[in-house]
Subunit: 465 residues, 2 copies
């Protein structure tokens, strides 16, 4: 329902005419994210600075309007979908890099800057920002921080939580706060920086962040290791992590996914290969030689059927293309896909994958698994046809069992995608009531009127004492 004209005018007064979209056809496009869910916002605002954001928040408080912040909507959980309508605040016009501090290895940015823009600018001074989600080319840093995005490099370099020094944000109460400090260490007061990171816009709207950068490695080698079964592949993962040459990527691809790759014929794979690891090692050139040797040694076990160091960039590209081709292959395999990103302790990966195979058969839902094995973080893809009601119901029942399984194995429901709308109903299976109650109380302190991204992350439960 469109806002009343006098209210729209208030937002125009706050942000300027060019920064408010009231036309419903324009609003419509801001109602999606990559979850394919949709809810049309009543109004879209495109503020250009923190002050305008504060004014928007004040207006939303005053008139009790829900406010959903979005970057480029690449998240897969519905976290950026305005499920209770109201305002969508897009940070797309706050996309400036404010400062590159080479000496202190950090960069101050606005939330709407793309991850890839940060990487490009950092690379000019020999640095990089570790979080590298698959959508790096078109996702924003603000969205990365809101979801604590990661990617393959997290195994060595950490997630957003380990790579953000300072945040400026507007709380749901309309206050501009500064958390953390410009330094790489600091213990004054409570850690609100990490509390904001991963909070999916339910506490505050990030208006600026100082990102911690690292030095780009001189060389990166990519190892391809194929195994006759899952257990052997995961044994190799455990062995690799037990020695001191820590890879900067340690990716797993299961048998079904390998078969999809084979179908694309982009890469020659041993016919005995039923699980594959892609392992990357980076550092100075002579150090990489030593580290690769150690990793190859650790990766070798009786179940290993193929082990190659793709030191040439052509071979590296071929390998990563094979990994990337997977997403397209999955799309052509079935019209609908549930893409989860569960995590279990690394040693439980064989049990997880074995039970996923069992669930796949039980529900007649093909499941393809690949992901960041070094963190135990697997992307579980359930493929089905949403227009077939029987299949759709089976997929959801199966997903339910997947979550049960993950929690039984001591895992967590999400490693990097977050909760949003998609996993909100399962959160209370993982977190106990006292913890949930504390989270809801913290939310109330930041956002006393509950205007920020309502209907996300935390379930609708009464707050207990």
């Amino acid at each position: 329902m469109p806002l009343q004209p006098h209210l729209v005018q208030r937002f125009v007064d706050a942000c300027g005419e060019q920064s408010v979209l009231a036309d419903q056809s324009e609003c419509w496009t801001y109602g999606f994210d990559n979850s394919k869910q949709h809810a049309c916002p009543d109004l879209v605002v495109l503020p250009q600075d923190a002050k305008q954001i504060q004014e928007c928040v004040q207006l939303c408080r005053q008139f009790n309007i829900p406010l959903t912040t979005r970057g480029r909507g690449t998240n897969t959980t519905g976290a950026a979908v305005p499920v209770q309508s109201g305002i969508v605040l897009s940070t797309e016009r706050m996309d400036r890099i404010l400062e590159v501090d080479r000496s202190n290895r950090n960069m101050r940015v606005e939330p709407g800057v793309l991850n890839s823009t940060v990487q490009k600018r950092a690379a000019e001074v020999g640095l990089f920002w570790p979080p590298d989600p698959g959508s790096a080319d078109y996702c924003t840093v603000g969205g990365n921080l809101a979801c604590n995005a990661a990617g393959p490099r997290a195994i060595k370099y950490g997630t957003c939580r380990e790579n953000t020094l300072e945040i400026l944000a507007v709380t749901g109460a309309g206050h501009l706060i500064r958390t953390g400090s410009a330094t790489t260490k600091g213990v004054v007061g409570l850690d609100l920086t990490r509390l904001l990171i991963g909070s999916e816009g339910i506490l505050a709207i990030i208006t600026e962040a100082r990102l911690k950068l690292g030095a780009i490695a001189e060389r990166t080698d990519t190892i391809r290791a194929c195994y006759q079964d899952t257990q052997s592949a995961i044994d190799a993962v455990v062995s690799i992590l037990a020695q001191s040459a820590l890879p900067c990527a340690l990716e797993f691809i299961d048998e079904g996914s390998l078969n999809l790759i084979r179908g694309q014929e982009t890469i020659a794979l041993d016919s005995d290969a039923k699980a594959m690891l892609i392992i990357e090692v980076d550092g100075l050139t002579p150090a990489v030689d030593a580290d690769v040797a150690a990793v190859l040694e650790a990766a070798k076990n009786p179940g290993c059927v193929d082990l190659k160091n793709a030191s040439e960039s052509r071979q590296r590209e071929e390998l990563w293309r094979a990994r990337k081709v997977l997403s397209q292959a999955l799309r052509s395999f079935a019209p609908s896909k549930i893409n989860e990103d569960v995590v279990v302790p690394v040693s439980q990966l064989p049990a997880l994958l074995l039970d996923l195979e069992r669930l796949s058969k039980e529900f007649s839902i093909p499941i393809f698994n690949f992901g960041h094995a070094g963190n135990g973080n697997i992307h579980v893809n359930l493929l089905y046809d949403e227009s077939d009601s029987r299949q759709a119901a089976a997929a959801r029942q199966c997903l339910n069992k997947v979550f049960d399984l993950v929690l039984k194995l001591g895992g967590t429901l999400s490693g990097e995608h977050g909760v949003g709308v998609s996993k909100r109903d399962w959160v209370d299976r993982e977190l106990n009531p006292e913890v949930l109650s504390l989270m809801m109380k913290i939310k109330q302190q930041f956002d006393p009127d509950g205007i920020l991204n309502p209907g996300k992350v935390l379930p609708n439960l009464a707050v207990s004492d």
Copy 2:
């Protein structure tokens, strides 16, 4: 004031007779920490499990008794001193290692286990826990987590916040909560794990933690680099951090401290040396060779007067002994010492050290500086005689100016020691009122009656909306 006998009996009922110390002479010794401040508790409890802790918290809530948790009291800020009397809860009898999970590189421990015990047990399976405070031999993991302890290795391996997976804790409301997960990635709900780490016992009492371990490096080399002035030394720090061979320690020692070391004659130092770096590089043997070469190259600049790789363990020990001898030397230099641990952006270290020299002259207070230069984290030692009231007043005025200086340079008042009582009055200079207000409101959600470690960390301010 001792508790009334019927109240003492309630704690005896909760924890057992052997676990309650009511005798004032016994209580007295639990009133200190390494800040040298003292306040005698009314009662000391030594619980053996989380359930006993919950019962103690419930009793303290019921009878409105302050409750201060302590490990071994090695902190320097008064954080473990029961400034409002009441109960001291010592975790010393909860010192078990509950699980060593080699495959998943983590260890589940009770809070009273010593840091060095964790390291010893981890080393048996080729692993280590990164936080390495100077007091590792006699400080507890619970205390480490409460203060977010770090040490030299933080530059490469991070602090407690980067190396803790899961926490069990009893809140001030008496609820047992579990935060985080057994996995190295997780984004379900708000990050309460990091919120508890560094909260100095004002939110909850940690009853168990799952520590994230890393693989022990095959070899560690130690480089000694001496410079003719501070600026050259810090230029070297910046250059070292700009290349990809990241050291696992990057320590700075200033001229005054070098002179103290010279006085101890444990090590031959070039007479031109007015600043020294101790740099450690670890990894696989051939990788260390490459990394050391790169670090030596980066450390070399026109101001460098001496550059040596102490590859032999005898030379390494000599170097670290020199660093360690400093603390004793400082003690013999003057009867009283204020030991701060401020942090500034690395590039601001020369400005900080220059201005500290100026302040030292202005107040006639000798100041010695050394510390973790890679993190911009410097231990600033003000030496004076507390029994000389003029000197004591000058030291405090000088300290005040030191804090002003640090904040002016974009720094933070504490990198690893924390706030406790010592820095509480300065916290509102660093944190803005809205941030402080949020922290106080969060404290209220965890500890509605304000019984946990009252008078610490957060200043006494009215909570605003």
